[in-house]
Symmetry: C2
Subunit: 372 residues, 2 copies
């Protein structure tokens, strides 16, 4: 096996973990290979707060042979060098006697500098940055680098870029297959769905996961609601307030907005955030608050003004764009992504087309939003 | 071989013809099959005004055996029953003694009623309408039914449905691969490119076919230009006026608009058409005029107002929609398909997605516009 094949083997180990178990931690896989190119230790990070991939791999290798000085370690992410929930992996690597380490991606966390530390200790370090390793941990890397959740934005539009007709009834835009895909393959991938009180109220949105022949599943909801309007008595029977066992509704308000006369139910939590004089939310603060709540990825399903605002604030990482099979000849229709006049004109956001998938006459376009 | 296989065989013969040779005539293929299921005659319509497919097939069969009474004829389009440029095919079929005819599609031309005529003569007629036979002659069928060219509309837009920025510089929207496809696979498929004087002047458009490593090719141009502005002296050096050997520029003006001081060059022709009080062209008249000029299919490449106008007039059969890989956060950008206030709101045009094709980060969506 070649170096690349060893790293790909480690990557496939990394993918064995489940997101719900590792939470905000990265997917990591590791293998130890002896001088005859035999794999003598394997491991992956399984559960948040528990052993790292390298630890499993090195412990297994040491059980096989006490001398690892002629062995190499392949790990998909730069080993940690700090005391977190577990001791630094660099200590174990140095102690094990391993002299060569291949790394599939660097850790953007500035507290992690395993690469430099191991190098200083005379260990031969080879970085082979794998696109797949970066892709696998896109949520983790975004959390670390941008101090906010990984954000996907869903837009359903007609061919002319209209997002909904002027009565805001957007349900007719895409077909049942497209909508089923959103439930089964997109809403399931995130820690929460983020929307605005206006959209949730206007659309009578439930924001859960509904698939055919299966009971509906809960999803955390984050509702941007500066004035806390969704908690008014008249909104008490909104579909969003369905019976929840495992999830919460986070209502994001301006500070000191809600003074509840009685305690809120345990599945409703208020997040107080700053809004500016234009009533626009401070997404920098919100991003950190959501990470603290364990929300590492969100799907935004909201109206055009809020969606465009997030785009203009570079708060979107991927676009889930559905085009319904109709042209709407209607001047009053809401356009797909106009912005409020406050936002600088001529801003251009470059996209990478990750995949496209037709659903009968609809088409689903999955884009990554390029760094700029 | 089954009935369907015989018809598909006839269909593949039909496709041997070249559009430039048959001009506005349909693609037609025919085979004669004897009682032992052997093909004893084949033919297809090759050249405008010359023998029909059935004639070739029956003549070949008759050369093989004088008695066709136990033979069947398979023909992809209903045989003609009128004296056009050639005698009616129904006469020949009856005279040949053939007792069974399989037809792959009906002729929408009301002068053609071969189906009924042959039936009345006691010939067993089976209509097996093949989607492929209809698709093959979509230009011909549209010409016959709608008395206008088959119209494809090209739109290049950003993800938000913006067609060009407010300076109308649309060149940046799609990438070079997308634009190359328009030249090599779309402009080559039509008899003319239709645009407006405004677009041709503003965009300094050439509207020819430019492909890599090949000399550029001419295409007929139809320019909607109510006031004949493009013929003003200041526009004499527009790229559209490139040296033409085989093609023409048709300038569509209101009646009695152009009074040239000297004769127009032979490759420029004026078509006088009615415009209404809103300066909108009467497309019903224009359609017939273009057919008379031998323009059976057009590609519209124009601005959003004219494009939307044609859509609202149900003058578009297919949409060639390119989405460039960017979002434009610009309120002043021209929207993809808005319409002038004159047009009835809430008009919805249903689409069928024929195919989708990514060009790097761009995507090309080819739609048929459904009849309504």
């Amino acid at each position: 096996m070649t170096t690349l094949e060893h790293l790909i083997e480690a990557l496939s180990l990394a993918q064995k973990a489940e997101r719900k178990n590792i939470k905000g931690n990265p997917f990591v896989g590791a293998i130890v290979v002896d001088e005859n190119n035999n794999i003598i230790g394997t491991g992956y990070h399984k559960i948040w707060g528990e052993k790292h991939a390298e630890v499993y791999a090195i412990e297994e290798a040491l059980a096989h042979t006490p001398d690892l000085t002629k062995c190499s370690l392949y790990v998909t992410l730069e080993p940690c060098s700090h005391h977190g929930k577990t001791p630094p992996c660099t200590d174990l690597i140095i102690k094990s006697g391993i002299k060569k380490v291949f790394i599939g991606s660097l850790d953007p966390n500035h507290k992690v500098s395993g690469f430099q530390l191991l190098k200083q200790k005379g260990i031969d370090i080879v970085l082979i940055e794998l696109k797949e390793a970066l892709q696998l941990n896109k949520v983790f890397f975004t959390n670390q680098k941008k101090q906010r959740p990984f954000v996907r934005l869903k837009i359903a539009a007609t061919i002319a870029g209209k997002m909904a007709d002027y009565e805001a009834d957007s349900k007719w835009i895409t077909n049942t297959k497209s909508r089923a895909y959103v439930h089964s393959n997109i809403r399931t991938e995130v820690d929460a769905i983020l929307s605005t009180a206006k959209t949730v109220i206007d659309d009578q949105a439930t924001l859960n996961i509904r698939t055919e022949n299966a009971p509906s599943k809960e999803v955390n909801a984050v509702i941007i609601d500066r004035t806390g309007s969704i908690l008014k008595a008249e909104n008490a029977s909104l579909p969003i307030f369905y019976q929840r066992k495992y999830t919460k509704i986070y209502i994001v308000t301006a500070p000191n907005t809600i003074a509840p006369t009685k305690p809120l139910p345990s599945n409703i939590e208020i997040i107080e955030t700053t809004f500016n004089s234009n009533k626009e939310i401070d997404v920098t603060i919100l991003g950190k608050q959501l990470l603290e709540k364990g929300i590492y990825s969100v799907l935004v399903e909201a109206g055009e003004i809020f969606s465009s605002y997030l785009l203009s604030k570079k708060w979107v990482d991927e676009l889930d764009y559905f085009i319904g099979s109709k042209i709407l000849l209607d001047n009053q229709a809401v356009t797909g992504s106009a912005v409020s006049k406050n936002i600088v004109l001529d801003q251009e956001i470059p996209l990478t087309l990750l995949s496209s998938m037709p659903f009968d006459n609809d088409i689903y376009l999955h884009y990554a939003i390029n760094e700029s």
